[in-house]
């Protein structure tokens, strides 16, 4: 499979580039959704920085991990080009592990959100430890707070007769305010910090979720080549190197998307 004079690429590589082109449009649509929703967000419904809600250090760590995986990926290809299959497979394995690390970190990020609750109140009320009156209180459910139930038709949490909340420290630091008991009648809406919480978190979960799926997809392919690679390489090294190059192109793109997701979702 010689590269074609017009594109300078063999079929597989050209195909991957085209596929990536469509991926650009896919994530492009999501980014423009993000901008649109943020610009049009009603007063106070969108956090000033993603960091007010999200965990920047973890994400920064993940950025490093993913960039690292990109390098190991391209290294794998380089060693195959140097006809050193063993090293190639080794770097491939490293890529696989780094990808796994990324997902594990993301898992912890997600679960943290699902155990963190926000109570949206019908009317402003004063809460000890916060200055002025607030319309929402966020925090963790106390052990003696009644178990939450979801409405069958909407899947949203039903307002219980009361909740006992351990509020977060007020914005700008300070220590944990005392536990508050909120009456069901005062509650307009109760949600964990999952996608239902707000359009910001909805966007966050959709974009990072889709990106996560891309990581999983990549891991499946890489895993496949880890398993079959050395046999494949032994009878057609060039072709195998090309397959790895194509996988790499996809993998670098996934990295590239994250390079934009990180500042946009977490830092701005």
């Amino acid at each position: 499979m010689e590269p074609h004079p017009i594109t300078g690429m063999y079929n597989g590589k050209f195909g991957i580039w085209l596929f990536l082109a469509s991926e650009v449009m896919l994530f492009g649509a999501l980014f423009s959704t993000y901008i649109l929703l943020r610009v049009g967000a009603p007063e106070g419904t969108w956090p000033q920085h993603g960091a007010d809600i999200l965990n920047v250090p973890l994400a920064a760590f993940n950025t490093v991990v993913l960039i690292g995986s990109s390098v190991t990926m391209v290294m794998a290809w380089a060693y195959l080009k140097m006809k050193r299959i063993g090293m190639g497979q080794l770097f491939l394995a490293a890529t696989f592990l780094l990808a796994g690390t990324f997902l594990v970190v993301k898992y912890f990020e997600y679960t943290e959100k699902f155990h963190h609750y926000a109570v949206f109140l019908n009317a402003r009320m004063a809460v000890e430890g916060y200055e002025g009156q607030v319309t929402t209180i966020s925090g963790h459910l106390a052990a003696d707070s009644p178990a939450l139930t979801r409405a069958s038709n909407t899947g949203a949490y039903q307002a219980p007769e009361f909740v006992i909340l351990e509020p977060d420290p007020p914005k700008g630091g300070g220590d944990h305010p005392p536990v508050v008991r909120i009456d069901g009648a005062q509650i307009k809406r109760l949600s964990d910090f999952g996608p239902r919480h707000s359009t910001f978190l909805a966007t966050y979960f959709t974009m990072t979720g889709l990106h996560g799926l891309h990581i999983v997809g990549g891991m499946i392919v890489i895993g496949y080549f880890l398993a079959t690679g050395s046999r494949f390489a032994s009878h057609n090294l060039d072709k195998y190197a090309n397959r790895i190059e194509c996988t790499g192109l996809y993998w670098h793109f996934v990295d590239l998307v994250w390079i934009f997701l990180f500042p946009v979702l977490y830092l701005l």
Binding site: G15, L18, E23, G28, A29, T199, A202
Partner: protein, 580 residues
């Protein structure tokens, strides 16, 4: 060169590998075509049921009324939800399960590799995958009709919040849509790589048959326009399944119930932008392959080169490009101000010019020709005025001021049906009659073909022409009972005409179905090149074996070298060097 083409031995394959899970582009093409034709007929039948409700509102549907399920009909009478479901499914099926798979998956797969002298598509396994993903997606989508709580009934455009608050079938519809999009993406990558990298030696870009150009542009449209819809579908799924508010603003009240469980903050118009960003290019996905087929058939049956081949090519490329920046002309009524509307009116007017050029080139090609009125040619010729009507009636809709009165009326229905029904679908028929001998080695009956053409031509106009007048009178689309409104009641006579036209049109398809199956086994055997055509597909045996060409062809001339002066035959195949 494709690394599969030569590799597998073909004829000793077991049946299921050869005809079911085949990687041969021709088999896959035929699979696409047959599946699409079945879907097309199904979608057509749904419309015939709707036409009954429109013609005789509130009266039991004869024959099948009793068979329809609870969500569709009550004691034989179609119900409002049922009408909406049929409407939404008719649109969806015709566009996503009918025409696109037939035009791109069917004709593209079968003809394109042959026309560029390739042994197969660049990625045969990917090709098979895209067919089966399409098939599953289609089944899921049709399945959405038969859910207990009622199917997807918010129009094929699925505008939220209606679509988000609607019944469960909507979710299945979206899932099906994701499958279809994935299939088209796989397909389009395959087409582009094949066209650019697998062309036979000597087949430079300006020697490509126009059909190949049309397919190439179409593939780019699919590749770049579908992802935004995929994103939009994902967002709507989130809204429906996870309970997010991408398209749901604050403070919605549904039949006096305040939806306070939603976070709000979404924007319903966002969906329309993402949807039409796909759906306008999609319109050209529907029409360009058709134009390609028409060009082939006209060149072959006028026995002369296409007039202005290069301007045809440039026009089709320009069309493809422009189709990405006209989408908001579907949204003039959403409260758009003067600045934007001006931009989109302008682009809309601009995009009409290449269409005019294409049409003009095709018709000037008739001048000084030696026209053979074969069955494919009849359909091709009928395409020209029908498409012209469809195109022209787009003008008052593309101008905001006249759109105020015509938007969402039957005028719109008439307009785009003239483009896709007597337009694209006639082109599809032309293609079927034209390439049938290549696929089977037998010719379809001329007599039955003409018996198919003439009634179809008359009745399809009887269906759609009245719609323009109804639209003018202010009859709105997607009305379960038009006579509920003064305008609809006043023009009920035209409604009757459309309906009867539709049912007779269905009868007119019987000769085609008979002809099709009869000819597969009993049709008259013909040579490899029965139409005396020039393009490469006719250089291959009929039906072409796995790997297509006995010897890899080399191209010496342009695609339409007909009636070359001083040549004994009136055609010079591309793979034959001109005797100079």
């Amino acid at each position: 060169m494709s690394d599969h083409a030569h590799s597998h031995g073909d004829h000793d394959l077991p049946f299921w590998k050869k005809y079911v899970f085949s990687v041969d582009h021709k088999v896959i093409g035929v699979q696409y075509a047959l599946t699409a034709l079945v879907f097309l007929f199904f979608g057509f039948s749904l419309m015939m049921i709707m036409r009954w409700q429109l013609a005789y509102p509130g009266r039991p549907i004869p024959l099948i009324g009793a068979m329809l399920s609870g969500t569709l009909a009550a004691d034989g009478v179609l119900v409002g939800d049922g009408y909406n479901i049929l409407g939404a499914m008719h649109g969806t099926i015709m566009v996503f399960l009918g025409i696109v798979p037939l035009a791109v998956g069917g004709f593209g797969n079968f003809v394109l590799p042959l026309q560029i002298g390739a042994p197969d598509m660049a990625f045969p396994r990917l090709n098979m995958a895209s067919y089966w993903v399409f098939f599953v997606g289609g089944v899921i989508m049709i399945g959405s009709m038969f859910t207990k709580t009622s199917g997807a009934g918010s129009g094929w455009t699925m505008y939220p919040p209606l679509a988000v608050t609607a019944a469960y079938g909507e979710t299945i519809w979206l899932v099906g849509m994701v499958f279809l999009i994935t299939s088209s993406l796989l397909g389009s990558v395959n087409f582009i790589v094949t066209t650019i990298q697998l062309r036979a030696r000597g087949l430079s870009f300006f020697r490509l048959p126009f059909f190949v150009w049309a397919q190439l542009v179409t593939a780019f449209l699919l590749l770049l326009a579908f992802p935004p819809l995929e994103a939009a579908a994902a967002l709507q799924l989130m809204d429906r399944v996870v309970g997010t508010s991408f398209f749901m603003p604050e403070g919605l009240v549904l039949s006096t119930v305040h939806l306070s469980h939603l976070s709000g903050g979404g924007n319903p118009v966002l969906w329309q932008h993402l949807f039409w960003f796909l759906a306008h290019p999609e319109v050209y996905v529907l029409i360009l392959p058709g134009m390609g087929i028409i060009a082939e058939v006209i060149a072959n049956n006028t026995r002369k080169p296409l007039w202005g081949y290069k301007s045809l090519v440039y026009s089709v490329i320009f069309l493809g490009f422009m189709s990405f920046i006209v989408w908001a002309h579907h949204m003039f009524m959403t409260g758009m101000g003067t600045t934007l509307s001006t931009f989109f009116q302008a682009t809309t007017m601009i995009i009409s010019v290449p269409s005019v050029i294409i049409l003009t080139c095709l018709i000037i090609s008739l001048y000084g020709a030696a026209i053979r009125f074969t069955v494919p040619m009849l359909f091709a010729l009928a395409f020209l005025p029908m498409f012209a009507i469809g195109g022209l009636t787009g003008l008052p809709l593309g101008l905001t001021a006249s759109d105020i009165q015509l938007h969402d009326t039957y005028y719109v229905i008439g307009h785009f049906h003239y483009v896709v029904a007597p337009g694209t679908i006639f082109a599809m028929f032309a293609g079927i009659y034209y390439w049938f001998p290549k696929a089977t080695g037998r010719k379809m009956s001329d007599w039955l073909g003409k018996l198919h053409f003439w009634p179809s031509f008359i009745f399809i106009n009887a269906v759609f022409m009245p719609m323009f007048f109804q639209g003018m009178a202010g009859v709105l689309r997607r009305q379960y009972d038009q006579t509920e409104q003064l305008a609809g009641a006043a023009s009920h006579g035209l409604t009757l005409m459309s309906s009867w036209g539709a049912w007779l049109l269905a009868l007119a398809q019987i000769p085609f179905i008979v002809n099709f199956f009869w000819s597969i086994w009993k049709g008259q055997r013909v040579s490899d090149n029965p139409w005396h055509a020039t393009t490469l597909e006719w250089a291959a045996p009929s039906p072409p074996p796995h790997g297509n060409f006995p010897a890899v062809p080399v191209v010496y001339s342009g695609p339409y070298e007909y009636s070359v002066p001083g040549v004994s035959e009136d055609f010079c195949p591309q793979n034959v060097a001109l005797e100079a």
